[in-house]
Symmetry: C2
Subunit: 242 residues, 2 copies
């Protein structure tokens, strides 16, 4: 059957995949993905045909998936986290316009805002904004505007792609924008290697976070004005009477 | 073992639970939750002790979970979607201060922004904001401020709790705020009964959405300025060259 299933595999560990994602990878003919993600699932789906492309070859990766599917296969295109949050499902629909005979299906997964949030406690219990600090495809001015808007309107904020070699100071710049609207004591947190070897969560104040160097495997959480620390966990109350 | 595990069960169907959530419900002694959510999982975990409380009894539900756990049990407190997005994990940490001998763990699930997004296509591929229109515990002025901020900064937006009997016109009011910043042609969508009997996704323009009556089982998506319709799907491009 000519079909591409875009599958969010969650943060990395097998147990955090949905049953639907496991079933899709078990029943497909071919798994396609970025090398690092394919390596995360390889041992659990041994014997399955697997095709990889390196980072920044996203359009080619999607075309590869459709070319394989066009041969009559069911192809699973895997993404870390959710397929629809900075994942591949959007690009699959765009590239898919050239392959009208291939069906597309999306299987959701647990994105880092959720899996990382669970490590820290409950940072996103109320309204929240998800912002990527990567300016590879988004002008930095637009990112700044979104940071300021989320800061001013008291959203909890989850930052994806907070750093890279070329963007070592982006988290500091983001914190400086948020400090215009939030107290330096605002509760923040970072989670690295979610669901993988070396998983680590740390709580900071916003002032401390500003001076913290994170890597590209880290997800950052900034609390709203009500967020507090309870027993070492970052908790944003929803407003229930306790 | 005295433990409360807060488990996000995803949108409703068994297949959209994570493997970790399934394992937690299989291995716990008691499942606690709002009646409707317990009914969603009942058939898959037959024979398990299940305790329910009605809606708006959230604090009592958490206390019940801790009281059971304090007897030496492992208790799974279930939430629809993710435990940490308008779920129970925050309140569990707050109530848990009274039960220092009970361990707390959070198991993430697929929240409606992700599962509903997958039904519509890929509406949240870029930066997005999640806002609840329920003013039960949040002043409406704060909700309005967040809608305006998200609208002005060109976030894709996912609205939870868009309507209820007492709030029949809240979606219209939210759309009117967004129409100050977005074109009436902005691509929007709604998904009802995600992962359940009767699941339905519909694409609208923002102008059409304004005049649409939705119910409390609906999640609403408002595209950003770049969101388009591709083959009947709502797709927010991330910016890759196609």
């Amino acid at each position: 059957m000519s079909k591409v299933i875009v599958v969010g595999i969650g943060p990395g560990e097998y147990e955090q995949m949905t049953v639907k994602a496991v079933n899709a990878l078990n029943s497909c003919d071919t798994i396609v993905g970025y090398t690092v993600y394919v390596d995360l699932v390889r041992e659990h789906f041994a014997g399955k045909e697997m095709l990889t492309t390196p980072m920044r070859k996203e359009t080619q990766r999607c075309e590869m998936a459709f070319e394989e599917a066009a041969k009559g296969k069911t192809v699973a295109m895997i993404c870390s986290g959710d397929a629809g949050v900075y994942g591949m499902s959007g690009l699959i629909y765009e590239v898919g316009e050239k392959y009208p005979g291939v069906e597309v299906e999306v299987v959701s997964g647990v994105t880092a805002a959720l899996s990382g949030g669970a490590v820290l406690g409950a940072p996103l219990m109320h309204d929240f904004a998800v912002i990527s600090l990567s300016d590879l495809m988004t002008p930095w001015e637009k990112i700044e505007k979104r940071l300021a808007a989320a800061g001013e309107a008291d959203f909890s904020i989850c930052l994806y792609n907070p750093s890279s070699k070329k963007r070592a100071d982006y988290l500091r710049k983001a914190c400086d924008i948020l400090l215009r609207y939030r107290s330096p004591e605002t509760v923040c947190g970072t989670v690295s290697y979610i669901g993988r070897e070396g998983q680590a969560g740390t709580i900071y104040t916003l002032a401390q976070l500003r001076d913290t160097q994170v890597d590209m495997f880290t997800t950052v959480f900034i609390g709203n004005s009500q967020t507090k620390v309870i027993g070492g966990k970052m908790v944003t109350p929803r407003g229930y009477q306790v």
